[in-house]
Symmetry: C2
Subunit: 281 residues, 2 copies
Amino acid sequence: MKVIGDPQKLAKITRQISCKGKSIGFIPTMGALHPGHLSLIKQAVKDNDIVVVSIFVNPAQFGPKEDFKKYPRPLKKDLALCRKAGVDLVFLPAEKIMYPQGYSTFVEAGELGAKLCGISRPGHFGGVATVVAKLLNIVAPNILYLGQKDAQQAIIITRMIKDLNFPVKVKVMPTVRQKDGLALSSRNIYLNNEQRKQAPVLSKALSLAESLVAGGQRDAARIISRMRQLIEKKKQAKIDYVAIVDLEKLESIKKINQSCLIALAVRIGKIRLIDNTIISV
Amino acid sequence: MKVIGDPQKLAKITRQISCKGKSIGFIPTMGALHPGHLSLIKQAVKDNDIVVVSIFVNPAQFGPKEDFKKYPRPLKKDLALCRKAGVDLVFLPAEKIMYPQGYSTFVEAGELGAKLCGISRPGHFGGVATVVAKLLNIVAPNILYLGQKDAQQAIIITRMIKDLNFPVKVKVMPTVRQKDGLALSSRNIYLNNEQRKQAPVLSKALSLAESLVAGGQRDAARIISRMRQLIEKKKQAKIDYVAIVDLEKLESIKKINQSCLIALAVRIGKIRLIDNTIISV
């Protein structure tokens, strides 16, 4: 496994690989790898000749009051996990290499980026789209692997790839969960014991929604209301949003008579957690 | 010469060319080709194995009150000029292929795009950056050719290529002029006889600035004042801006003690013309 910090060096290597007819799978990460990331890597190893993982805590996607500085960076452990998982190339750029002095170009996610998590995290998805655009130009993969846990991110990046004509396929892999349902996230380590006990309420609310739909309920407002009631029972839980939206424009729907995304963001104490499920109709 | 409308088909062809070790030169155009465009094509033919020209009047870079609909589209003539100039591939996409329903991703040029022409054309450079990002992803050229006539565009695109890590070099070619100094532009055909006589005042103002600098003048405000006086003598001329700015941030400078761009936009009647010169210090 090679660890490369120079974008141009990596770009040269990946072009040579592609021209030999070998396929490249790519997983962009901010490190702090957990089994969710590893499931993406595993799939990429299965699908491709060469697997590239980037580890870069992207400042452009953090708000001024967010956790950029304290975001976990267990680099040694991450590299060991990559090696063990069969990764061929790790891209590990310095911040000043990715955003040099005078940097001024940003990819905007438009209305898709202003909804759901975009309401409380303005600029977040523009920052994500920008760094992924940069990484796609550097790595030039055949397949990009994203996690369903970040559903809005996956929809926005898939849209960006189509809109900006990046020649890459996207595979969105299922959310990996702990036994009690909590979706894996690098931010779960911030939870104290009591918060950790309350955190599965996100997935429990989604399970409730799924069972309501399975039982014939089609009214989005009623489903959301039941989900909110369940979450509000937890003392440390503060709802950011609970939404049922279409899969293309992320606009709220009233009746579940089309495939849709049920998504929520909840603060457990100060820790903001997200989760979602897709209802296929 | 092949004319291709399908982005994926072109992308496949250009990747095959690149993998054979052949270099690709690319000139993005909105058609209505004149000797300015042809000078870029000529240089690209000289530098590369394969030359790609795109012809696409990009709606994203026109304001709601601008001339998108009446912009000249002499396609037959353009294709004949390309063929004669030795172009290998012409990319001629339909608008709905480039901006399909639900399109929502835009590249923003940041502060660079808000200055000079960006003041009277808000959103223009975002539209330019967006379409060039798309075209670069489709064509994947080794060298992109741009004209110095559109100096701000060249600076913004060069910045975008660096910022977003597009693996492409940029060559900016000198402005081609008519005998009386008027910079070639597809919009010159809009000028009536009287306007055509007044239009060289832009290049004359730049020549005046150059001679003032050559004579030792270093005060930007004085140079601008002299340029404005010259332009205001023409009855149909209405100044949009006359500016002396640095080459990186496009910020006004007071003293010419560094290399800089002297740029201006002037309406002759309703026709907005631009021109510029670079002062090397």
